[in-house]
Amino acid sequence: MFFNFWFSLTFVFRAIGILLFFYAWFTWKDRTHRKPRLTACYWLLLGIIFVLPDKLSQTGYTLVGCLVIGLVILEALNGVQTGDYPESPHPAPPPGSPTRPGMAMFIPIGLIPAFAFAGAYLSRQTKLDQTIGTVLGLALGAAAASLFLLRLTRCQATDLIQSGRKITEEIGTVNILPQLLASLGAVFTTVGVGSVLASYAQRVIPSHSLIASLLIYFLAMTLFTALMGNSFAAFAVITGGIGIPLVIVPFGLNPALVGILGLTAGSCGTLLTPMAANFNLLPATLLEMNDQYSTIRFQWKLAVALWLAHPLVFAVWYWTR
């Protein structure tokens, strides 16, 4: 029981929730902030969602749904804004100062993936869930990196939280966009939007031509991934509806090869779509780009070229088998 709690994601989500409560409190008190009240409410609502347990009753899920609607209303009201985030009372020493930490600054950044790796490795050795192991490792890595950094910079925990609040508020409402799009995907799946689209693709697929069938399968994977924002959601629908019954089985193809190519054809779609917000839109805010579509504008050329490589890889297998 004790072990089950610690070896679970709930515990990591609670840590995030508590961090968000701190953000809400600091923003509420922030005199330089443009919308302190509404923004504080935003982090408070999101924090509540993060401290909730994994499984809830139907009423509980309805409540979460209402909290999500609340978050979106705050966004619609322009309620999520930033402040000036002054560095006092612990300003960083200026460049060139002997008290300024040097290359050691890379250590905390390296600790996070190192702990994630250790978590993945240990959970694999002990036959535990590797996803949870990696996530726990990452969380512990963040904690270890925080402690290390506080010692290195002689800052206090509030400075650490204030620095996190600055970046988190600069990202703003884009923070929840990936989760929101995943929820939209869940609604699409529940009401069967995917199967409507799959039945359309089934109607245009020619039964006699291997290359045409294969290309339509790859194209359907790319387009549906772009619409759903997630190659995993598209894969089950499209491979179950088109890939297996209309391509792999009738032409006697290698299922592993066609399956994995279908998945990466979907990834080409992920490179093209704003629906994959965490990969394509969130970096625009993180790197302070002027246009949130710049990443997609860069990626589309590789996505098209790589998509064309899919039938070529298949052809190499077909002629050398």
Binding site: Y61, A76, T134, I161, T173, L184, S231, N278, L286, S294
Partner: protein
């Protein structure tokens, strides 16, 4: 004409695909993304005949949204890494990264991005999934890439930023399939098994290799072309040859009210 609209016009499809149309329209018009997504979800549910709240046996749209939002909290895990990144940046992580790459004589823009893409592929091969945009791109790779960019005009910087975030995506998306127990390989394995086609996880990772190699080479060409573009005199004086930005020009507006 897109298949979705064709379906509606010919009356063969179902009205519930209209939600996709709302999302596409909202993204195209750059309306606020959150409200667009929520309205699309609720519209889709209502068109398919679902109630808003529903009962315990047949849940309505709001509990479906709520459950999915709760189940997908893992996507927002990166929030936990932001305090470390933020404090390290305040104490000059960017300058350290820039100084470090400045000392390497053989460093070029292309080599830098390829090294990080290779690192992401390696992490994928080892089964480590993390959100590299916060851990690598912003604190480390971008300041390094900036050092290797000679003419820092706004359109050039925009492209450099886009290349840095694309580099993370390329390595992450395709590299993760090299790990046999990755979520992607498990999904392919399970879907094929359900369709009566058992395969081994190792064979999936094996067949993922050609696309990983191709993506790496294509990315190298793309970075090299950008590097070449960065160093030509036209990059600093002439206006951009292709239309780049339609977003608000000032950075303050883009951070306080994202153009959505």
């Amino acid at each position: 004409m897109s298949p979705v609209y064709l379906l509606i016009l010919t009356g063969q499809g179902d009205w519930k695909v209209l939600g996709i149309g709302i999302v596409l329209l909202g993204l195209f018009m750059r309306w606020k993304t959150g409200p667009v997504v929520l309205i699309a979800g609720i519209t889709t549910g209502l068109l398919a005949g679902f109630p808003l709240v529903g009962t315990a046996l047949s849940p309505g749209i709001i509990p479906i949204l709520g459950k999915a939002f709760l189940d997908n909290r893992i996507i927002t895990l990166y929030l936990l890494t932001l305090p470390v990144v933020g404090l390290a940046e305040r104490f000059g992580l960017h300058q350290q990264a820039a100084g470090f790459i400045g000392k390497l004589r053989n460093a070029t823009f292309t080599r830098l991005l390829l090294v990080f893409q290779a690192l992401r592929i390696l992490l994928g091969l080892l089964g480590i999934r993390l959100y590299g945009h916060t851990v690598f791109s912003r604190p480390v790779v971008y300041p390094m890439a900036l050092t290797l960019t000679p003419h820092k005009t706004p359109p050039i910087l925009e492209k450099v930023k886009a290349a840095v975030s694309a580099c993370e995506n390329y390595g992450n998306f395709f590299g993760q399939n090299l790990f046999p127990a990755s979520a992607g390989c498990l999904l392919v394995f399970q879907t094929l098994k359900n369709g009566g086609l058992p395969v081994t996880l190792q064979s999936l990772s094996f067949y993922a290799l050609p696309i990983v190699v191709t993506s790496f080479c294509l990315a190298g060409i793309q970075y090299w072309r950008l590097e070449h573009h960065l160093q030509t005199p036209s990059a600093r004086s002439l206006p951009e040859s292709e239309p780049v930005s339609t977003a608000p020009p000032s950075e303050t507006t883009s951070t306080t009210a994202p153009p959505e």
